[in-house]
């Protein structure tokens, strides 16, 4: 465990020094993320000009949900985006060799080696939006609710990571991950809307097999709704199943990996 923490600290140091070499890009990416946050908040503010309740939530509750998915996005952009982007290329070029011979989990090393320092600034901004959303929430917020919300966001982040890796693993056989990558990005739109709007079989699918509606909505439910424990249990079980599936299929994929220029 200590080895992994020490490794993470090195990743962090290298990533910050690399980001400082490209200062203009560093600034552009901060502006890009600020605009992304503003657009999502603006979108729901326009929606609430036409309704008072959406998916069972009022505007204040919706802002907590929005802050939650922005935080989830910032976490993914900071910790995963650069790494996951390169994974299919490493598999196809045979660069995975360098990671397989190291004395740590290859999936851990590949997933967390490049920390996006510029997105880290946005992680702070997303956290500030969350504080603003909670401050504007008129119902009482309990410490337990906040703890469960944070735990839910961590689970939501893990689930998003597992689903994303599952869309990369077929590259071991197909040699092109573009199609599934596009499917994943199209499906992320379902994360950005509250789960309460989905009904029938679509709701069942989006909260189990393709659990995009779980990732940000269920953490928000833990802060807002009374059914906190049910939501946490549901999210935890689905995350665990996807975690085991990811680990299993990653090892199956590694067995099919034929090294350089595979």
């Amino acid at each position: 465990m200590m080895r992994y923490l020490r490794l993470s600290a090195y990743f962090l140091r290298f990533s910050f020094s690399k980001a400082m070499e490209f200062r203009v890009d560093f600034f552009f990416r901060i502006v890009m993320d600020i605009l992304f946050y503003g657009i999502n908040i603006g979108f729901y503010q326009i929606i609430f000009l036409h309704t008072s309740v959406l998916g069972g939530w009022n505007e204040q509750e919706m802002m907590i949900f929005v802050a939650g998915f922005l935080l989830l996005d910032a976490l993914s952009m900071t910790l995963l985006s650069n790494n996951v982007w390169m994974m299919p290329i490493f598999i196809n070029r045979g660069d995975l060799d360098y990671y397989l011979v190291r004395p740590v989990s290859s999936l851990f090393f590949l997933s967390f080696r490049d920390f996006a320092a510029n997105s880290f600034v946005n992680l702070l901004m997303a956290s500030a939006i969350l504080v603003w959303a909670i401050a504007g929430y008129s119902s009482p917020v309990t410490p337990l609710g906040v703890i469960l919300f944070v735990a839910g966001l961590c689970l939501g982040f893990a689930l998003r990571y597992f689903v994303r890796i599952l869309t990369i693993i077929p590259v071991f056989w197909w040699h092109s991950g573009r199609g599934l990558e596009l499917v994943f990005w199209h499906m992320t739109r379902f994360i950005e809307r509250p789960d309460g709007i989905y009904t029938g079989i679509t709701r069942v699918i989006l909260t189990t097999i393709l659990p995009f509606a779980l990732m940000a909505s269920f953490p928000a439910r833990m802060l807002i709704d009374s059914l906190k424990w049910e939501s946490l249990l549901h999210l935890a079980v689905v995350t665990l199943i996807f975690g085991f599936a990811t680990r299993f299929f990653w090892h199956v994929g590694l067995r099919a990996y034929s090294s350089a220029s595979s």
């Binding site: 890009d25 552009f28 890009m32 326009i46 008072s52 092109s176 739109r189 679509t202």
Partner: protein
């Protein structure tokens, strides 16, 4: 002249063949974007219509809104074309040099390949609209006419050029900066909300609608979609086309200035 046109046509057809050689990715992109956009819009607006128990929101019935959400991403993609990366990569990697021996200018070459994407996406948009009409019927909210269709196509052509000139200006910043893809993503985000892809502009507050009419973003999605659907009056056509021409001239001017200054920084071996 004829040689140049023949060369540009071969660039156009070569790009078409290249796009269609990755058929799985092409169709996943097409079907995936429609399914996700329509799926999310369906549940979002169904929840609002049911909550308020109403038949219309603004100028849209529920089926009308779904047709809008079908056309918005398709028209948006038609105008965006290949979208981004090619110009800044050529500058960054030093491959811009090879265009010196081509018989046409760099931007004509790039615009011909951009048009290959545009024409394919336009065909997809037409096919999707036809399929919607066959399976669900066209909603009564809209009045389709050959004139509005013609104006919509003209506005698409102008908007395609404007988007190309705007993105080319932004990508030319690569002469000075190491990585400019985030600037292009900024334009894309802005187009998503202020262009009417996420929500029709007629549902914005009136002060915002008055402002957005004079911004370029509305012409990348909302204006051509509303024109196809017959929601724009002839006065709106004229004003819209004039604004589009004005922005196109401005973007061409900016592109010329940025490119002419930037090319003196180009070393030919990558930055």
């Amino acid at each position: 002249m004829r040689e140049r046109i023949r060369f540009l046509f071969s660039v156009f057809t070569m790009e078409l063949r290249r796009i269609l050689s990755y058929r799985v990715d092409f169709w996943i992109q097409f079907l995936g974007s429609i399914a996700a956009q329509l799926g999310v819009a369906y549940f979002l607006w169904r929840a609002i219509f049911d909550q308020r128990d109403i038949e219309r929101i603004g100028e849209f019935s529920f089926p009308g809104l779904m047709l809008y959400y079908l056309l918005a991403p398709l028209i948006g993609r038609t105008i965006r074309g290949a979208e981004m990366g090619s110009i800044s990569e050529e500058i960054y990697e030093g491959t811009l040099t090879r265009y010196l021996i081509y018989p046409v200018s760099f931007f004509r070459y790039k615009f011909a390949s951009h048009l290959a994407y545009t024409s394919l996406f336009l065909a997809q948009a037409g096919a999707a609209m036809l399929l919607f009409g066959i399976f669900f019927g066209f909603p009564d909210d809209f009045v389709f006419s050959p004139t509005s269709l013609f104006v919509a196509i003209v506005s698409c052509v102008l908007a395609t050029y404007l988007y190309f000139a705007l993105i080319a200006s932004i990508e030319s910043v690569a002469f000075w900066a190491d990585n400019v893809w985030s600037l292009v993503v900024i334009v894309r985000f802005a187009t998503g909300l202020f262009g009417g892809a996420m929500i029709p502009l007629s549902l914005f507050p009136s002060w915002a609608q008055e402002l957005l009419v004079f911004m370029p973003f509305a012409y990348f999605i909302s204006f051509p979609v509303r024109t196809v659907l017959g929601l724009n009056a002839p006065e709106a056509w004229i004003r819209g086309l004039l604004v589009l021409i004005g922005w196109s001239c401005a973007a061409t001017l900016v592109l010329g200035v940025v490119w002419n200054r930037g090319k003196y920084r180009y070393t030919g071996v990558g930055i």
